[in-house]
């Protein structure tokens, strides 16, 4: 071990995480009667004893330490508070085990692992248990009371059965099982008589087996349900053991328990004899999936059942195929013909495949690279003589060993065994992502380069591998850079991070920035966000950092306005609206046309007043005018209201220097008032007619005087008036009035329209009257309209106008106009000649 312990292990609270995890030590100065005045130091070491963290313990007395599955250190205090620290001694969070504990104090606590995560169980001064099966999702369960429990149980443990955590406790000769609702007495099957108390109990790593140590020195081993006894052993030592843990290998038939006293270690199992070791130093046992880790001040060892493959090969005088193959390979290297003999022997038995498999498997269980190599070499040698041996098991083993050796290096200090290697990760819920968890652990230890090398070695996809690690690295850097180098500017840090990351896929700069912001480095966060290619991603963090204006421009910069982006823009807008006063809010909007138009669209339907304010603020009098005009149609019913709205609009138009619109609006006000009066005086419907229609309606109603007055008031041009009157009179079929009108003065629109309108009303007689008065240019047209083809032809010939001639010709039909047609043809020929 690399550590330099000042304290004796026995004076400390010790916690070691499974799967080769870290070790935490805290000198237990509270156990003594008088609290020591010096504060203890909490130290965290890697499994190889490399110091990872050391901090002065400033909180209350600690009852127990333990590691969670995510390698967080849980420190259970006497008052029921649980403090959570990271691997590097960084404080993460804390939670409490309930109020009841405050009074009664915590007597004892256990941290245990289940398939959902890590749980905490405590025993209070009132001899009640409380547990939480998953500290990540804290739900406290107070376990039922044990009847007539007067003193602390002599020992207890947590069991996990059917995904539910139970507590098993021993009081005197009785065992009680607590589940959520009930407390029941249980008796182990086939327990030897004469037990008056249980001194120690141990549950196996997978919660399947249980071992009990009694005051008679008797050990009972059976299933966790206590219903079946596997074996028993009498060790004749009555002293209570310091620790007792299971030591068995998954899928192995052998069961064994390791019991440790002060200076003695005993392995007992289904055999009449036990194996005993002498402990030179104070030691501590860590149960593992496939064995027991034993560490002391100077050493760290692993005790486990020898795997079958290793046993077969290395047993003295073994004739197992693997052993022969290993021998053959050795001889082969010595260039001895014995190699062939061994090989033949295996082949004759037809066991070469098993031999190779055995060697490969045994290599996995070896910790010494040299031994691994020689076994693998033997396997590869054997493979040469096999036709179709699938190579992947060999290749995978080489890869796995390489990774394992790398992390077992004492600098790294994660002594995983081969059987733990794939298993380790199942524990962590990522069932398929085993390697991911290993990488996470490396990242947690800030061993970024090794993690990246492993990714590259295993050719993991970038997103899962390298870039994820780089992102972690960057987050770490963002958090801690200036702690290391004081005078580096935020800009430089951001650039340095960017240089390393580039635009590796899967790296999210906004995540890194969020991390930087999390430790109060807002400026760095903003700089980092600059590198975020998806500007939409920048927005939420900017908002969080109260950089709403920047957020708005980023939200818009993302260019598109799909749902997500719109939501973003709207969110930012609402943020801004609450954050700023109205004036500043509008000013900000003004610089963002896209957001402005979006917001305007929204206001138009939902918040009309805001829209008005918006225009007001902008001095956008033109739009303000339009706004009021719209209002005069939509919102107002009463004439007075409408006129008032129009007046406001007109004022706005004046301000916008849009005289035309202002005048037009004023005219409209006049017209409205007038229409109102007309309705009052004459009845009928005038409101909302156009000026033209108003006048026409008057004429049609026979109010010629009024019509003319109106035309004068509103300066209706003569031409329009003529068109208007013409249409209105024709509508009335008031031919007399029409004729009078036509003669009132020279028509400004000519007389062709008169002809046309009469023909439209199918009054050929009247039409003819006007046809004669039509000016020369349109005469042909007029004559054709009234159907006088012959005369039209004459006029056209007279005009010597080719187009007119063709026009007439096209009107000549059949026999009736035969003569005329001829005439025109002749005239046309003449014209063309010229």
């Amino acid at each position: 071990m690399d550590w330099d312990l000042k304290e004796e292990l026995k004076d400390c609270l010790v916690a070691a995480a499974p799967y080769g995890g870290p070790i935490a030590l805290l000198r237990n100065c509270w156990r003594k009667e008088k609290a020591a005045s010096v504060r203890p130091v909490l130290e965290i070491y890697s499994a190889s004893g490399m110091p990872l963290a050391s901090l002065l313990w400033k909180s209350g007395p600690v009852v127990a330490l333990g590691w969670s599955a995510e390698e967080e250190l849980l420190c259970v205090q006497e008052d029921g508070a649980v403090l959570v620290y990271g691997l590097h001694g960084d404080f993460r969070r804390h939670f409490s085990m309930g109020n009841e504990v405050l009074q009664n104090r915590v007597l004892d606590a256990r941290i245990f692992h289940t398939e959902f995560g890590s749980g905490v169980a405590i025993l209070t001064g009132a001899y009640r248990f409380t547990l939480s099966a998953n500290v990540g999702d804290l739900k406290l369960r107070r376990m039922p009371e044990v009847p007539s429990l007067q003193s602390a149980p002599s020992c207890w443990t947590t069991l996990c059965h059917d995904r539910v955590a139970h507590i098993l406790l021993a009081v005197g000769p009785d065992l009680y099982l607590l589940d959520h609702a009930t407390c029941s007495t249980v008796t182990p099957a086939g327990l030897a008589p004469g037990v008056s108390s249980f001194l120690q109990m141990a549950v196996s790593f997978t919660y399947r087996y249980l071992a009990l140590f009694t005051d008679t020195g008797y050990i009972w081993m059976g299933t966790a349900s206590l219903k079946e006894k596997l074996c028993e052993f009498n060790c004749n030592i009555r002293a209570p053991p310091k620790q007792m843990v299971w030591c068995s290998r998954p899928r192995s038939k052998e069961r064994a328990v390791v019991v440790a006293w002060e200076r003695r270690l005993m392995v007992v199992g289904n055999a009449p004899e036990s194996i005993q070791f002498v402990l030179d130093e104070d030691s501590y046992l860590v149960p593992e999936l496939d064995g027991v880790r034993i560490f002391s001040r100077s050493t760290h060892e692993f005790l486990h059942e020898v795997p079958v493959a290793s046993e077969e090969i290395f047993k003295i005088a073994s004739m197992a195929p693997g052993a022969l193959l290993l021998e053959a390979q050795k001889e082969y290297e010595k260039e001895s013909q014995k190699a062939d003999e061994y090989l033949r022997e295996i082949q004759e038995l037809g066991q070469l495949i098993q031999a190779v498999q055995q060697c490969i498997e045994a290599a996995g269980h070896e910790h010494q690279p040299d031994m691994q190599k020689s076994l693998l070499r033997a396997a590869s040698f054997g493979k040469c003589f096999l036709d179709r041996f699938p190579p992947d098991s060999f290749v995978r083993m080489c890869q796995d060993l390489r990774v394992l050796n790398a992390i077992r290096d004492y600098h790294i200090g994660i002594p995983l065994t081969y059987s733990q290697y794939p298993h380790a990760y199942r524990k962590y819920r990522y069932k398929q992502l085993t390697i991911q968890v290993l990488l996470d652990r490396l990242v947690l230890r800030r061993l970024y380069p090794l993690a990246i090398q492993i990714c590259e070695y295993l050719r993991l996809p970038e997103v899962q591998g390298v870039s994820r690690i780089l992102a972690h690295w960057a987050c770490y850097k963002a958090r801690t850079w200036d702690v290391q180098q004081k005078d580096v500017s935020d800009e430089d840090v951001a650039r340095a991070i960017n240089q390393k990351l580039g635009d590796t896929p899967g790296v999210s700069y906004s995540d890194i920035a969020a991390r930087a912001y999390g430790c109060g480095r807002t400026e760095l966060a903003i700089k980092l966000l600059e590198y975020e290619p998806r500007s939409g991603e920048q927005v939420p963090l900017l908002l969080k950092m109260k950089r709403s204006k920047l957020a708005l421009s980023k939200a818009i910069e993302s260019g598109d306005t799909d749902l997500g982006e719109q939501r973003m823009v709207f969110t930012v807008l609402l943020h801004l609206k609450n954050e700023l006063n109205r004036g500043d809010f509008f000013m900000t909007l003004r610089n963002q046309p896209m957001a402005l138009s979006l917001y305007r669209q929204f206001c138009k339907h939902q918040e009309l007043d805001t829209l008005k304010d918006l225009y007001n603020q902008d001095d956008n009098h033109q739009e303000l005018g339009s706004f009021h005009i719209r209002g005069s149609y939509a919102a107002e019913e009463r004439i007075e209201g409408r006129v008032a709205a129009l007046q406001t609009a007109a004022d706005a138009f004046y301000k916008a220097k849009n005289e035309f619109a202002a005048k037009a609006t004023e005219d409209q006000m006049r017209l409205l008032r007038l229409q109102r009066r007309l309705e009052d005086e004459l009845g009928g419907q005038f409101l909302d007619l156009s000026l033209h229609d108003t006048v026409a309606t008057l004429i049609r109603g026979g109010h010629n005087k009024r019509a003319e007055q109106l035309a004068r008031d509103f300066r209706i041009p003569d031409k329009r008036l003529w068109w208007l009157k013409l249409a209105a009179l024709a509508d009335l079929e008031d031919w007399e009035e029409l004729e009078k009108f036509s003669k009132s003065k020279k028509s400004p629109i000519g007389y062709l329209p008169f002809v046309e309108i009469c023909m439209k009303q199918h009054n050929k007689y009247e039409a003819k009257k006007y046809a004669s008065r039509v000016g020369p240019e349109q005469k042909v047209k007029a004559l054709l309209l009234v159907g006088d083809v012959a005369q039209a032809a004459d006029v056209a010939i007279e005009h010597r106008n080719e187009t007119e001639l063709s026009l007439v010709l096209s009107h000549c039909t059949g026999a009736t106009d035969g003569a005329t047609a001829d005439k025109i043809q002749r005239a046309r020929a003449q014209v063309q000649k010229k």
Binding site: G559, D560, T561, D562, L563, E565, Q566, R567, F570, P593, M594, S597, L598, R600, Q601, F602, H605, Q606, Q622, S626, I629, R630, Y633, A634, F660, A661, A664, T665, D667, Q668, L671, D688, L689, S690, L691, H692, F714, I716, P717, K719, R720, W723, L724, A727, I749, K781
Partner: protein, 644 residues
């Protein structure tokens, strides 16, 4: 008579898949039960992607009443008709309108566009139910996408928790073999007038869908800000989802995006090609038209689907109207002759004839009589003197002579209250072709207009000015100076940030100069033979080559904007062109002659006809994608402010 395609003309991709996808998604949304999942597996990734949002939504199985927004009825009918809806647990259908709701169903489903007024309607309904103590399930399906503002309204009205919102990504309706419409007429006003960019995402999504279904586009061209934004967003979508489509063979070689505001002139002209004329006269809605009694020569109206499947229509749709009648009568004679063949037949032949040909002939006969009826009806309206004068004035405006006379004509048009929309159209045409009206005319025409058609049009004029459709020449100002300044600003990278006010300034048209550069007014010696057109000008009686189509022609010829700098500058638009050689290498020579033209803000049937003609001449095939089929009247209506 209808021009045959060149023999080597490329085949069009099959767009009916789009319909199928839309229908399946809708049904899935309506049913939302696990059994409906099967289709998910069978359809393309991209569409599955569109659906993912919905798969999270609560279920609404069982009978339900469906409320449909009026605008969505015709498009919906093309996708899933009533009987299909009924098969999928829709009980009764209602139109979304301001009437009390009589539905007694326990579940109400609303199929609407993402508009605030629709949300209000739903909110009122839900709140009324609440007041009455009635408990129902509500589901809102927004198409083609959700807008956040809509959800915000639901939230403000306090019913966000009561309704579930879904998205039906139905953005492409194949109206014809070569015409896809997004059926979003409001795109034009929302973007070009209100500056609302939300629909751009819809466009990008639609393009993304097309490229996942029909492979990537090796060549992309575009002109206009909206085109550029849509393109950029589309690219982003493609990058985000680096799917397997990358390796796909392109089926369509080119895509060309253009903004409607780069060429208002073409859209404002009266249409004289048959399909356009039918649209102008009867209004084609969602690919079908309602022929009234005057056409059907019965007492009933008839809804007729106008597309390539209508054999008669297919042959005349792209024809100048002057040829159509002749063609139809020829056709009638042929038909008669075919009927007549049966005279000399024996029994067997007759049996054959009846079972095989008669049905086809009858069908053709029916269609023929319909189109003849339509022609007559159009003739009645259009061959009157007024129409001739109108066309004459339009041509004068396009060519830029007799401006005073044209102005007078427009004034008379207004004075006589011929039609508010038509008058407005002529004013806009005058303004655009003349770079704005001279101040005196600007005032007097507007005054006349207000007097004739009502003062509320003051707002219409304000809209038109903002959109750059009807502007005033800056008095005494040699336009070019201002223009140079503005165009510098606009071509700058910061183009996106120029405010509305600026863009209306920038929208000065330089129609005359562009027309000269691109030779839009063909020199004609003698009569232009409309029967055998020689250029795209035939769609406007040989007087004018549509600007939009000419630009497309020029860019495709050059495969870039090279040499068109001056035109682009005059158009005051951002242009872009990208070619992906890697993709182009993969494309077959046939697919390289397929061009998807995307009109943002709508396209007219005249433009479609012109490009179809161009395609035949050059051996291309054009596919059209438009936000909606438009015409001059629709454009003007979009800009008009009507009394509430």
């Amino acid at each position: 008579m209808a021009f045959p395609h060149r023999l080597d003309a490329p085949e069009l991709p099959d767009f009916s898949m789009l319909k199928r996808l839309a229908r399946d998604q809708l049904i899935y949304l309506l049913e939302q039960v696990s059994a409906g999942h099967a289709w998910l597996l069978s359809c393309v990734n991209s569409v599955a992607l569109n659906v993912t949002s919905s798969s999270l939504c609560p279920l609404l199985p069982g009978k339900k009443d469906l409320f449909i927004e009026a605008d969505l009825m015709s498009p919906l009918d093309r996708i899933a008709n009533v009987s299909i809806l009924k098969q999928h647990e829709v009980d009764k259908l209602y139109k979304v309108e301001n009437k009390p709701v009589l539905s007694s169903s326990e579940q109400l489903c609303f199929l609407v566009r993402p508009r605030i007024k629709n949300m209000r309607y739903i909110a009122n309904l839900v709140n009324a139910d609440k007041l009455a103590g009635r408990i129902r399930k509500y589901k809102v399906i927004l198409t083609p996408q959700k807008f956040y503002a809509c959800e915000m309204v639901l939230e403000e009205e306090g019913i966000y928790g009561d309704v579930s919102c879904d998205e039906w990504a139905f953005s492409l309706l194949p109206l014809d073999v070569d015409l896809l419409s997004m059926e979003l007429p409001e795109f034009f006003r929302d973007y070009f007038l209100e500056g609302d960019q939300r629909w751009i995402n819809t466009v990008a999504q639609a393009l993304h869908l097309l490229s996942t279904l029909y492979g990537p586009f090796p060549n992309c061209y575009g002109i206009g800000r909206c085109a550029k934004m849509s393109y950029d967003l589309w690219r982003k979508l493609e990058e985000e989802e680096d799917s397997e489509t990358k390796g796909r063979r392109p089926e369509i070689g080119h895509i060309f995006l253009l903004d409607r505001d780069m060429d208002f002139v073409t859209a404002l002209c009266s249409q004289v090609v048959y399909e356009g004329l039918v649209d102008d006269t009867f209004r084609i809605k969602c690919g079908s038209v309602d022929f009234g009694p005057e056409v059907t020569s019965s007492d009933k109206s008839l809804k007729v689907l106008l597309n390539a499947e209508d054999k008669v229509f297919n042959e005349i749709r792209n024809e100048h109207f002057s040829n159509v009648f002749g063609f139809l009568s020829q056709k009638a004679r042929n038909l008669q002759a075919q009927y007549d063949r049966r005279r000399g037949m024996d029994i067997k032949q007759m049996k054959n004839f009846v079972s095989q040909e008669l049905k086809g002939l009858k069908q053709e006969h029916r269609l023929l009589s319909l189109h003849i009826g339509a022609c007559e009806s159009i003739m009645k309206k259009k061959t009157k003197q007024d129409f001739q004068e109108l066309i004459k004035t339009e041509h004068a405006l396009l060519e830029g002579f007799n401006i005073r006379e044209s102005t007078n004509y427009i004034e008379e048009h207004i004075d006589r209250q011929v039609s508010p929309i038509e008058s407005l159209r002529l004013m806009c045409l005058l303004s655009i072709t003349e770079n704005g009206l001279i101040p005196k005319d600007y005032r007097s025409l507007k005054t006349q207009y207000l007097q004739s058609y009502g003062p509320e049009h003051l707002l219409t004029f304000s809209n038109l000015r903002r959109a750059g459709l009807l502007t005033e020449q800056a008095p005494g100002d040699t336009l070019t100076a201002v223009e140079n300044k503005v165009s510098k600003l606009v071509t700058d990278k910061a183009a996106g940030k120029i405010t509305d006010a600026f863009s209306s300034l920038a929208k000065r048209s330089n129609f005359r100069a562009i027309s000269k550069k691109l030779n839009l007014i063909p020199r004609v010696d003698g009569e232009y033979d409309l029967k055998v057109p020689r250029d795209m000008a035939y769609v406007f009686s040989g007087a004018y080559v549509p600007l939009s189509c000419r630009i497309i022609e020029q860019v495709l010829e050059r495969r870039s904007w090279q040499g068109l700098d001056e035109v682009v500058r005059l158009l005051n638009c951002t242009e872009f062109a990208f070619t992906d050689m890697a993709k182009e290498d993969k494309a077959s020579s046939e697919s390289l002659r397929l061009i998807l033209v995307v009109f943002l803000g709508g396209c007219t049937f005249s433009e479609i006809s012109a490009l179809r003609f161009l395609g035949r001449e050059k051996g291309y095939r054009f596919i059209f994608l438009t936000t909606a089929v438009t015409n001059s009247a629709r454009l003007m209506e979009a800009m008009s402010e009507m009394k509430a």
